[in-house]
Structure formats: structure tokens, C-alpha cells
């Protein structure tokens, strides 16, 4: 008995670990492609549902599909109605895995594990190692199923246990509730259903007793999604609520018709194990069909329940920790926030410097922007560093390095602008009057900074390497401009017989601070190009 329990938990652990590694490996290989696929192919509801099936089956995780969908809705790439279609499809997609797992696959576990280990240990090429990881995880899943099934077999001979479970099987609501809680705890409906099937194989449960367990697993799979959505963006909340609603409606409906369903399931082809898998798939297809015509209406209803919030007057970073599960989406989200921050710096800081020189814009409002930059910098950097601790692909890692560099440059731009303001304020305090030429050149430098910043920002937004390259190649003009400004400034002082050292010190300090701003602005283009 004790060894059975140990075997059961060992098998369950190996199974869960296998599904976790498999989903992670597939995500690394295909999340980016799947995102593009979802963005382009889901132009109709039926296509969005079918792509939901395909993407979930490929990624082996409805959670990852949902995270990708949240990102796509948040970026207005797909509509809410299409997103709901994908969610319906993803529920069907997960059942296909269970379909495969109900075949007698445990016997192939050792082959997959062996191939996986060979690829991981002896082949250096990254792509083959990834295939090895996928093979090893499939092997673990199969091995886990075998272990769960074999460990439950002795239970069929234990009378006390049989009596207890028989009593439990007469209370379908309790059984469904237990399955729901356990599924939520394991974050895997497949694991719960596999346990149910193992109960049938070992003769502990009959087919009718396992049906509530399957329904409970379906309801339980929505709970982690709902809980994690509490801290997520509005799009995440909408999708989680929809997922919960359509699954729980289906479960309640099926539970009330359980007696009829039991008779009907026994007519399905195959062994009782296969019948359970068929029931799981058909249940999800049925609720998808039921909800499918209602999607536009439901999308409208959700828009009313969660109205679009007006942009808050103060700048806040919106990063969702749930997205860290899918690095691809977390990076897209981080880039979006850095772009928002950079846009704000352009509008409220860089483009206001000329007005500040003219005395039509206050330094105070620019100081406030700098505080926002500092705060946002810390938040985004912490998020990116958390993301960096995950297992990133080299492309993802490269993008993360770029984002960290650009974020750092934006923060420095804020600091340099504040130093420029402080120096510029000395002009008034020390009653310094700049010559017309000095003032004109100061404004010319500001113009260059505005241009460079705009070009760098556009290059960053659209990953436009050509623009970044062109931008960098203009640097020699500014290098010469810097020399000319200083040269002409000294000549002007000599010409006017001006010996006040304050004029020169303040003016050159101002120019130097602006040049620092310029260099950090140029660094953004360098980073976009890959000079990192």
C-alpha cells in the first residue's frame, strides 16, 4: 500500500515535470511563430477557433495560448471576439493531448528518454538539443503515466479502499469538486484525467464514476487562470472570465444531465479509457459549438462590463508578472512600455527644451518628468531582470540586452536634461547674457538632438536597422559641430574683449550636457543596430 502511494506520487511528479518541460521547450521553439500565426490567420471566428486548437496542441499549454492571446488583444492586433474564438479552440486543443495519452504509450517511454538523453548529452547543436529536450519530456510523460497506472493496480485488491472509493463514486458532485480542487492545485487537467483513466485501468473505478472527475478537471483548469488574471491587465481579466464562464456553464449543464450522458458515453467506440478521452474531447467541442454563435454578443457584453479606461493623466508602467511565463510576450510587453516611456520623454522633455530656453516652458514640469523616468526605469528594469532569470533563447536574450541598454540610455537622458536645466538656470542667476550666435548654436544643437532622438525612437519602435545606421552615420556632423561651437565661442569672447570666466564656464557646461544627451540618444540607434 505504502509503495503504491509512493509510486503514484512519483509517477504524478514525473508526469507533471514532463508536461512542464515539454511546454517550455515547445514554447522556446515555437511561441514567436505561433504568435505571428495567431496574428495573421485569425481573421474570422471559425479560423480563430481552429487556430486555437492547433496552437494549443503544438505548444501543449492552453495557459501559454491564453497569454499570447492577451498580448494580441492588448496590442489591438485581434478583436475580443476573435480572442474568445481562440480560447474556445484552445480548450479543444488540450483534449487532443489526452487522446494521445490514452493509447498504450507507456511502453515507448524508454525509447523517447534514451533518444532525448543522447541528443542532450552528445550533440552540441542547439536545435538538436532542443529536440532532445522535447523527446526526453515526452518520455517522462509516458513513463509517469505508466507509473501512475501500475501503482494504482494494487488498490483494486484492497477492499477497504475499494469500499471508500465506491462510496465516493456515488457522490458525483463531491467527486467533481475534489477533481476541480486537485486540478487547480496541479495546474493540469490532463494529469487529473490521466489519474481517472488509471483508476479505470486498475479496476478501482468504473466509467460512470470517472465522468464527474473529468468534468471537475475541466472546471478546475479555469481556476488558476482566473486567480492569475486578478493581477493582470484588463484583457487578461476578460479572457479569464470568459474561459471560466464557458467551461463552468458546460460543466453545470453536463452535471445535470449526467445520467443521460453516462448511457451515451458507453456507446462511444473503444475501451473505457478511450471512451473517457472521447468524452473529454466531445464535451469541449460541444461547449465550443454552444458558445461559438454567441461570441460577438459576448464580446460586446464584456466590453460593457469592462469599459475601455481612459489613459490616466499620470504615467504608470503596466507590466504583468503573469506574462513572465511566456518570455516572448513579456519582452513584447516590456518593449511597448519602454516605447511609451520614450514617447513621453520626447513629448514632455526633449521637445520642450527649446521652449525652456525661450522662457515659455517651466523647468519644474521637466523635473517632474525626470522623477517619472526614474520610477519607471526601476520598475521596467526589475521586470526585465526577473525575465532574464528565465531560460531564454539566444534571440530573446539578445532582445533583453537591447531593451536594458535602451532603458538605461533613456534614464541617462533624463539625468542629463536635469543637469542641463540646472546649468541653464545659472544664466539667469548670474545675470549672464549669451551672444546671439551662442544662443543660435544652442538651438541648433537642440534641433539636432530632437532629430536624432526622433530617428532613434522610430528605429527602436519598428526595429528599423537602416534608419539606425543612417542616424549613427550623421554623428561626424555633430562631432565637427561641437568643435566649431567651442572654437567660435572662444573667438567671440576674444573679439568682444570679454574676460568673465563665468560666461564661458556656464555656456560650455550647457553645451557639454546637451552633447551627453545627444550621445545617449545616439546610443539607442547603436543598440537597435546591434552594436552592443
Amino acid at each position: 500500500m505504502f509503495s503504491s502511494i509512493l509510486g503514484f506520487f512519483g509517477g504524478l511528479g514525473i508526469f507533471l515535470y514532463g508536461t512542464y518541460v515539454l511546454s517550455n521547450s515547445l514554447q522556446k521553439v515555437g511561441a514567436s511563430k505561433m504568435r505571428k500565426y495567431l496574428a495573421t490567420i485569425t481573421n474570422t471566428r471559425i479560423r480563430s477557433m481552429l487556430s486555437g486548437v492547433a496552437v494549443t496542441f503544438f505548444l501543449q499549454s492552453s495557459t501559454v495560448t491564453n497569454i499570447l492571446v492577451v498580448g494580441l488583444v492588448g496590442s489591438s492586433i485581434i478583436t475580443l471576439s476573435q480572442a474568445f474564438g481562440i480560447v474556445l479552440g484552445s480548450a479543444i486543443g488540450t483534449t487532443l493531448t489526452v487522446q494521445i495519452l490514452t493509447f498504450n504509450i507507456a511502453q515507448f517511454a524508454s525509447i523517447f528518454i534514451f533518444i532525448g538523453v543522447i541528443f542532450i548529452m552528445f550533440i552540441k547543436k542547439h536545435a538538436w538539443r532542443s529536440i532532445g529536450q522535447i523527446s526526453l519530456s515526452i518520455g517522462f510523460i509516458f513513463f509517469g503515466i505508466g507509473l501512475i497506472t501500475s501503482s494504482l493496480e494494487p488498490l483494486g485488491e484492497n477492499e477497504q479502499m475499494l469500499e471508500f472509493l465506491a462510496g465516493l463514486s456515488e457522490k458525483p458532485i463531491v467527486l467533481a469538486f475534489i477533481a476541480m480542487i486537485l486540478t487547480a492545485l496541479m495546474h493540469s487537467s490532463a494529469a487529473m484525467i490521466i489519474i481517472g483513466i488509471a483508476f479505470i485501468t486498475s479496476g478501482v473505478f468504473t466509467l460512470p464514476a470517472v465522468l464527474p472527475l473529468v468534468l471537475g478537471a475541466n472546471a478546475g483548469s479555469t481556476l488558476p487562470v482566473v486567480i492569475s488574471s486578478l493581477a493582470s491587465r484588463i484583457e487578461g481579466k476578460k479572457l479569464a472570465l470568459f474561459y471560466f464562464l464557458f467551461k463552468s456553464t458546460g460543466v453545470v449543464f453536463a452535471m445535470t444531465l449526467l445520467t443521460f450522458i453516462t448511457d451515451w458515453v458507453s456507446l462511444l467506440p473503444g475501451s473505457p479509457e478511450r471512451q473517457i478521452a472521447h468524452f473529454h474531447t466531445l464535451f469541449n467541442i460541444a461547449i465550443a459549438v454552444l458558445f461559438f454563435p454567441l461570441l460577438p454578443w459576448m464580446a460586446q457584453l464584456f466590453q460593457r462590463l469592462f469599459p475601455h479606461q481612459e489613459e490616466e493623466p499620470s504615467f504608470n508602467i503596466k507590466l504583468d508578472d503573469n506574462l513572465l511565463e511566456v518570455p516572448e510576450e513579456a519582452l513584447i510587453s516590456s518593449k511597448r512600455e519602454i516605447i511609451r516611456l520614450a514617447d513621453m520623454v520626447q513629448k514632455n522633455m526633449i521637445n520642450q527644451l527649446k521652449s525652456f530656453i525661450d522662457g515659455t516652458h517651466s523647468a519644474e514640469s521637466i523635473h517632474d518628468i525626470e522623477k517619472v523616468i526614474d520610477h519607471s526605469y526601476i520598475e521596467i528594469q526589475q521586470y526585465l531582470l526577473k525575465l532574464g532569470q528565465r531560460d531564454l533563447t539566444s534571440t530573446q536574450s539578445n532582445l533583453e540586452v537591447k531593451l536594458l541598454n535602451i532603458l538605461n540610455d533613456i534614464e541617462h537622458i533624463g539625468d542629463m536634461v536635469v543637469r542641463f536645466l540646472n546649468k541653464a538656470e545659472e544664466i539667469g542667476e548670474k545675470n549672464i547674457v549669451l551672444s546671439r550666435k551662442d544662443e543660435r548654436q544652442l538651438k541648433e544643437l537642440l534641433f539636432h538632438i530632437e532629430q536624432t532622438y526622433a530617428n532613434s525612437l522610430t528605429a527602436f519602435k519598428y526595429d528599423d536597422r537602416k534608419r539606425a545606421r543612417k542616424n549613427i552615420q550623421t554623428q561626424s556632423v555633430i562631432n565637427q559641430f561641437e568643435k566649431d561651437v567651442k572654437f567660435e565661442h572662444f573667438n567671440h569672447l576674444i573679439d568682444k574683449h570679454e574676460y568673465n570666466p563665468n560666461i564661458s564656464a556656464v555656456y560650455l557646461d550647457i553645451i557639454n550636457q546637451l552633447l551627453q544627451v545627444y550621445h545617449h540618444t545616439m546610443n539607442i540607434s547603436r543598440t537597435v543596430l546591434g552594436l552592443i
Binding site: G388, N398, E400, R526, L531
Partner: protein, 212 residues
Amino acid sequence: MLTRQNYYQEKRSEIKRLVLQILSDLAKMTDHFEHYLKQPTKENKNFILDNENYVDKNEKRIEKHILEIISLEQLDTNEIKWLLSMNRIIRELERVGDQLTNIITISDVIDTDVLRPTIKRFFHYEQDMIRWLTQGIETNDAAKLQDVIAHDEHVNHLNKETYQQLVDRINEKEELTESKLKIVIISRFLERIGDHLVNAARTYREMIEDYK
């Protein structure tokens, strides 16, 4: 741990890849030359000329990469030297391609049976030189590059031999056909090919030594 892909390193690898591609195209040209001399058809001629076009195109691509790198980054002396060396090497290799097409242009009108043995003897050494140069650049192997330099002696010797044969014929008042006279010019082209390969090898070897 984060990893990164540096644009400069990418460009540097691309330049090296293109140089090796040029060498591979030159090797193809010399391999096909004998075939062309046996059957001087338009297709065989075009195959060689097409490869020469690839050499020219890749030379321009490399130049473009070098210019771009210089305009983007403040490089240290060694890196600048590497880029300049590569620029010099591709010029030498481009001239090898030119010499090969020059031979084709001249050999168009003369009896290829007369020409074949001479070219074969030169290519016997020069194909080895191209192979060693490729290996030397690919693996930064100074010994292979030295082999290229040392082999030039044989090529020079062949050139002198060809001249001597012509002089002997004149002395013996033997009949001199146009083909036999043109062999002297072709021999000079073939000898120059050896010189360009040696220059390329020498440049790369010096660069490796400076890098150390």
C-alpha cells in the same frame, strides 16, 4: 546568463565568410578551366565568367561592409588593420579572377590543345595554393599561409621555363605559331595569379601575427 549578438562581430564573420566564398569561386573557376580547354563551348566559358561575376559582386559586398563598419564604430588599431588587410586581400583575389578571364579571352582564338599542358602545369601548383590559402584564412593557420608563399617559387620557375622554351625555338629557327607566342602572355597571366595568391597569403599571415 544573458547572451548577445554583436553587430560588428556579425559583420566581421560575414566578411570572412565572403572572402572564403571568393576563394571557393576561384577554386571552381580553376577546376572548370581544364574542362573548358577540352571542350571550349559557350556553356563552359560562361560557367567560368559567371563565377568571376560572383567574385566581383562579393568583393563589392565586402567593401560595403568594411565602409559601414568604419563609419559606425571607433575601432582599435588591430581591428582597423584586420579590415584593411581583408580589403587588400579581396583586391588581390579579384585580380586572380581577372587574370583567369584574361586567359579565356586570349585562348578563345588559339588552339587549346597547345595551351592545355601549360595551364595544367601552372594549375597543379596554383590549385594547391588556393586550397592552402582557404585553409589558412579559415583556421588562421600561419603555416598553411607560409606554404602558399613558398609555393610561388614553382610558379615563377614554370614561367621562366615557358620563356626559355620560346627563346629556344627562336634560336633553333623553329616555326612559331600564334598559339605558341600567346602562351608567353598566358604564362605571364598565370604567374601573376601566383603572385596575387602570395600577396593575399602574406597579408593575412602578417595580420595574424600582429593580432597575437
